[in-house]
């Protein structure tokens, strides 16, 4: 499942070779670097880079929105290079700051910032969600599956839309119950509410529940385990959290993206800018299969997913991206 | 002095209670200064003094609420320390507070044993209490139904229960703090009979009251406190109300209100069929009819909470009601809103019953309180909704001068003034508006004797200027000495009306208990 960054360099629209020797820096979004989800994955990538290279790096956890721009400028003024921002909320701020520091390289993860000194790393979450959707529909005995999102924003719709499309591709009659956790920042870290929503979905017949809700998802997976049904993890491989009751996880290799960005920014590396789009074709998103869920995934299911993967890579199947139309053909 | 007086009326060798040199300060305030007190066995000892004279502090020290800075306490000749109320109870001291300390939804028996239950089971304690209670009831005329819930008891019965509680805890010294404030005259008589019975059984009783009449009737000896000091202790038979009042205030006081006969003019206020129902659906006023004429004081007598407060509140615009009220022949809008303001505009001033909760804002300075309710008058306004603070302060300063309000500092917060001076601020404010009708509730509650005299004079002066005055008071003496006519309220109705010169305490007492008209 590992992807090589070298392969991706080919897709870059612009190539800037920049022999930076400064210390790299990373800014985590409001959830904090120990959110068991996206930020933590980025943090792990940075740690891995530190161990592998022996180089140090700086990091900063946002406490408020106002610090977004402040932290970016601080790191840029101090000469950090490259500066990595984890989270789609950096887009607007980065567009301004990148112009003000043309000699500094920036990395935007999860969003596209069209500036010559920015590498934008985006994941095609809809493709990965499509794959776990197939698995969910095939594993479901009741014909009803669930989805718990963090907040009702387009980014999360991208997950749910791919999930529904994948499920419908193998069982057109499958019912998908969708819930969002909340409307404030707390929605990303509310396991109790996540558990409650999951129990409600179970009472309505769901027997597989996929979450895209950060820390809230821990409650989703816990409730699924308690009720003896299946959960599906997200972002990093969460199969190990409840072995035997996590069907699979939709894995985004955020840590790889951070690791690669820091390595490329090294004295010996070559830093490229432009859009890096990670999907099923280059292994940036995938479904996880390990000893914890080997018994849950039948050969038939594997075959169905492999067929879908092949179709995506070949271009025969284009999974609809919610962001392109801000609507979903399936509901 | 001390030794001499002891010889004079203490037949027993050791007094039941003896205090020597008790002093207590709160910061710069000296609440008790070098107090000596001696109460003989089988005696009723009165303590009188104005508000803030230090009576409550002294009793609190005795009951273990405060620790004295210095001084000694002897019970039956033995010196003891009283660090808390349990020790006081163990030493045989019982206390009946002004505000009863009873659990409302418990029965009489449950209240009796509260805090002195023995063992893990309730039943044995209850049986024990039932027996003791029956004995005590026979002995002292202290009948209370042991199974009744507190909320169903009359105020008099609740007080008897407090006394029973103390006796059940084997009290030999009983302290009563202003015990008659909430009682009808009949109930008060009953209380004093009980106290005399207790005295005959050798109990010692300390009676704290500001009613000089009660001191004269009930006590054997009396001590007077003034500004934290015990100024004198005398045998009751050797003194008079006037003498006690002089000792309390430090100068001669006129106890009788000096007033000419009323000269009533045209009708100012007429109330017809006034009804009030409270939030719980309980009828508070039932078909009240009243008239007050110019140059006349109508007194409303009655035990507290029989509808007097509601009557004042409706007239003052604080409460809505059904019926009609007309001032100078013009009907008043009884709906609710900011009616307090429009009442003032048509000439009704209101000195409320509870100046702490209504009449003043205790956290405001005195000058801010001097226009409370009149702050929207044009003379106190400046453009843009600002207040004309200079004008307000001038008004306040004027009133302080004319009503002799002390300390003479309008910037002080209301809490810093004594009860009498606070009341003067309120009365000055309301009287100076030159109203047609003055509503005045409990004008001298918590007010020292010196100020009472002044306040009474002001009320009579206003009457003589041809104003109509509605006076509500639970102090019968005050009603009798000020009013030209008396109406008695009982359970939301007017149980009878009298011309003051043709009635007396006994007559009114019956009306207050709701049985007047039937017997006359």
């Amino acid at each position: 499942m590992k992807f090589t960054f070298g392969a991706i360099l080919g897709v870059c629209s612009a190539l800037v070779v920049n022999q930076a020797s400064a210390e790299s820096a990373i800014i985590y979004d409001l959830g904090g670097k120990f959110d068991k989800s996206f930020n933590e994955s980025a943090h792990n990538g940075a740690l891995r880079y530190g161990e592998a290279s022996g180089n140090s790096f700086s990091e900063f956890e946002l406490q408020s929105e106002a610090q977004r721009e402040q932290a970016l400028r601080r790191f840029a003024q101090r000469g950090h290079n490259p500066i990595i921002t984890a989270g789609f909320s950096f887009q607007s701020v980065l567009e301004v700051v990148a112009d003000d520091f043309p000699d500094t390289n920036f990395v935007a993860i999860d969003t596209v910032v069209d500036r010559p000194n920015v590498r934008s790393v985006v994941f095609r979450e809809h493709e990965g969600s499509y794959l776990v959707g197939i698995l969910a529909a095939m594993a479901s005995e009741s014909g009803t599956i669930g989805f718990v999102g963090g907040m009702d924003i387009p980014f999360i719709r991208r997950f749910s839309c791919g999930y529904v499309l994948g499920a419908r591709s193998v069982n057109p009659d499958v019912d998908v119950i969708q819930n969002m956790t909340g409307t404030t920042a707390a929605a990303w870290n509310d396991p109790v509410r996540g558990g409650e929503l999951t129990k409600t979905q179970i009472s309505e017949g769901a027997d597989v529940v996929y979450h895209a809700a950060g820390g809230t998802g821990r409650g989703v997976l816990q409730a699924a385990d308690d009720a003896g049904i299946l959960g599906i993890g997200v972002d990093s491989n969460q199969n190990y959290l409840h072995p035997g009751s996590v069907l699979t996880s939709m894995v985004k290799l955020v840590d790889e993206a951070v690791f690669a960005a820091m390595s490329d920014g090294d004295a010996g590396g070559e830093f490229s800018t432009g859009i890096v789009s990670l999907g099923v074709d280059n292994g940036g998103v995938s479904y996880s299969l390990d000893e914890h869920n080997a018994d849950l995934i039948s050969d038939e299911m594997k075959a169905a997913v492999s067929a879908a993967e092949a179709a995506i890579v070949s271009g025969d199947l284009e999974v609809h991206d919610f962001m392109t139309t801000t609507s979903c053909p399936a509901s | 002095m001390e030794a001499e007086s002891e010889k004079a009326w203490h037949h027993d060798a050791e007094p039941a209670l003896k205090l020597k040199g008790i002093s207590k300060s709160f910061g710069p305030v000296k609440a008790n200064v070098d107090i000596d007190l001696s109460v003989a066995k089988g005696a009723i000892h009165g303590i009188v003094g104005e508000n803030g004279a230090g009576k409550s502090t002294l009793m609190s020290i005795l009951y273990g609420f405060y620790k004295a800075d210095k001084g000694e306490i002897f019970i039956d000749g033995k010196q003891i320390e009283i660090p808390d109320s349990n020790t006081a109870i163990a030493a045989g001291i019982g206390m009946v507070f002004q505000h009863f300390k009873l659990v409302e939804n418990f029965t009489v028996l449950e209240n009796i044993i509260l805090g002195v239950e023995s063992g893990g089971l309730l039943a044995p304690s209850l049986d024990q209490a039932r027996k003791t209670l029956a004995e005590l009831a026979d002995e002292y005329e202290l009948q209370v139904d042991p199974e009744a819930k507190i909320e169903d008891l009359s105020v008099g019965a609740q007080q008897r229960l407090e006394i029973l509680k103390a006796l059940y805890r084997k009290a030999n010294i009983l302290i009563l703090d202003e015990p008659t404030g909430v009682l009808t005259p009949t109930e008060a008589d009953h209380l004093f009979r009980i106290l005399r019975n207790l005295k005959e059984q050798g109990k010692s009783i300390i009676l704290i009251t500001h009613k000089l009449r009660e001191i004269m009737d009930a006590t054997d000896t009396v001590s007077v406190m003034r500004r934290g000091e015990m100024t004198d202790t005398v045998a009751t038979k050797d003194t008079s109300p006037e003498g006690l009042a002089e000792l309390m205030v430090g100068r001669k006081v006129l106890l009788k209100v000096d007033k000419a006969p009323a000269n009533p003019g045209k009708n100012i206020l007429s109330v017809r069929n006034l009804n009030v129902t409270d939030g719980q659906g309980v009828a508070r006023l039932k078909g009240i009819d009243l008239d007050i004429r110019a140059g006349e004081i109508l007194g409303i007598a009655g035990v507290a909470d029989n509808g007097q407060s509601e009557l004042l509140q409706v007239l003052g615009g604080m409460r809505t009601a059904e019926g009609t009220i007309a001032l100078n022949g013009k009907e008043i809008d009884l709906s609710l809103g900011d009616q307090g303001r429009s009442r003032r505009q048509i000439g009704i001033s209101h000195v409320p019953e509870d100046r702490h909760r209504m009449g003043m804002i205790m956290s405001f300075s005195a000058w801010e309180n001097s226009v409370f309710g009149y702050h929207n008058e044009p003379e106190y306004s400046r453009p843009l909704g600002l207040a004309n603070q200079i004008a307000i302060q001038n008004t306040s300063r004027n009133e302080f001068e004319r009503y002799d309000i002390r300390p003479r500092n309008i910037d002080l917060t209301a809490t810093f003034f004594s009860g009498g001076n606070q009341q003067k601020v309120v009365i000055a404010r309301e009287v100076e508006r030159n109203p047609d009708l003055l509503l005045i509730g409990q004008p001298t509650r918590g007010v020292d004797i010196g100020a009472i005299e002044f306040i009474h004079k002001q009320i009579v002066k206003l009457r003589d200027q041809g104003k109509a005055i509605l006076l509500v008071s639970v102090e019968l003496e005050e009603i009798l000495s000020l009013s030209d006519r008396v109406a008695v309220m009982f359970e939301g109705t007017i149980s009878g009306e009298r011309v003051t010169s043709e009635t007396d305490v006994n007559d009114l007492g019956l009306l207050m208990a709701g049985m007047g008209e039937a017997t006359t």
């Binding site: 907040m151 009702d152 924003i153 980014f155 | 900011d338 306004s381 843009l384």
Partner: protein
């Protein structure tokens, strides 16, 4: 019985001591993670006040806190606990954004800013109005209803940013950037008009609005008849009715002014800083405002000082996180929490021994005379 405490002790010494205790305890926390508390404090103060850059950020945060602190204080004077500053400011932000995103956004800030102020006020007031009405007419407790309205405001913001104001093709739920005309001057620009060299920070001219709001509040509460009625009602509702003050009117007016104050907070972040509407434009200032009002004793001067203190904690705390990686943001939140605890909640803890001391001194003095 605090009559013996001199005023300087009341408003200077006691808060100062409280702050000292809070910092001492926080210092222990810093020691535990293996850093020097002295260096940490130096970084914190240097970072917040040591440069025009630090001061700019400090006062930028303080501006938000002044608005929300005043919002809490105005309601508190009338006896109401407006816990809905967060929601009122959030909705105020919608008002500001709608003006800035309209055709006005392409004109000049001198035109846009006054209109945006009115919009912030109108939207903040609208959000405070319903809880106020429910309290005044139906007796629904304002603490509960304002909390509920915080949630409704959050939901409304999400809906607007996802469905109405969102920019096509972006993931983040936020509006587009405002036009040049809707950009209000930051203080470094204002400084340059007068030849002052200031670092570029989000500190902007809404700071002046905040100062004006302080003056307005002082006039309102202590100099106007309305403020007099509000304080009377807050001290004793029964007495207010006695004096002919309508509880309905006072509740509505107090909450209206309170909501207006909270709404104006959005000027600082939406128009002065982010230049677009984002989900978390309020940045928790609604709740910090409660602590600020508590610490500032609901007096405008106190609120201003408390707001600056919290600005120092926020900006200095960020610097601390930059300079001392061992001090993570949880430790910084702990330091901020200790300050709130000691200056707000446990205020009486230190007041009691001090007032006893002054009582004792007064007694001793009198005894000596």
């Amino acid at each position: 019985m605090n009559s013996n405490i001199p005023k300087w002790v009341d408003i200077g010494l006691i808060p100062g001591l409280n702050l000292l205790i809070a910092f001492a305890l926080a210092g222990i926390g810093v020691l535990v993670v293996g850093e020097s508390p002295y260096r940490a404090l130096t970084i914190l103060l240097q970072g917040a006040l040591g440069s025009s850059y630090g001061i700019g950020y400090t006062l930028f945060y303080a501006t938000s806190f002044v608005f929300t602190g005043l919002a809490v204080a105005v309601a508190a004077h009338a006896g109401h606990f407006n816990i809905g500053g967060e929601g009122q400011a959030g909705v105020g932000g919608i008002g500001v954004a709608l003006i800035c995103l309209s055709f006005l956004g392409d004109s000049h800030w001198l035109l846009v800013f006054p209109i945006a102020v009115l919009a912030a006020v109108a939207f903040g007031v609208a959000w405070a109005f319903v809880p106020a009405y429910l309290q005044a007419r139906r007796g629904s407790h304002i603490v509960i209803t304002t909390i509920m309205f915080n949630f409704i405001a959050a939901a409304l913001l999400v809906y607007l940013l996802v469905n109405v104001l969102k920019v096509e093709g972006t993931l983040a739920p936020e509006s587009r950037r405002f036009g040049e005309g809707a950009r209000i001057p930051q203080m470094n620009e204002v400084g340059s008009w007068f030849g002052l060299q200031l670092a570029s920070t989000p500190w902007n001219i809404s700071f002046f609005v905040a100062v004006a709001a302080c003056v307005f509040t002082w006039l309102l509460i202590w100099k106007s008849k309305l403020g007099y009625e509000m304080r009377a009602f807050g001290a004793s509702a029964e007495a207010a009715v006695y004096a002919g003050i309508s509880p309905f009117k006072i509740t509505m007016v107090a909450m209206t002014i309170s909501g207006a104050m909270a709404g104006m907070m959005a000027l600082n972040t939406v128009m002065g800083e982010s230049q677009r509407l984002i989900l978390d434009a309020v940045q928790g200032a609604g709740f910090v405002g409660i602590a600020v009002a508590l610490m500032g004793r609901s007096h405008p001067v106190g609120i201003f000082l408390a707001a600056v203190l919290f600005g120092i904690l926020f900006q200095g705390g960020a610097e601390l996180a930059f300079e001392m990686p061992a001090i993570n943001r949880d430790l910084i939140v702990m330091i901020q929490g200790l300050v709130i605890l000691f200056t707000g909640a446990l205020e009486n803890m230190i007041r009691w021994p001090i007032s006893s001391f002054f009582d004792f001194r007064a007694t001793a003095k009198e005894a000596a005379q």
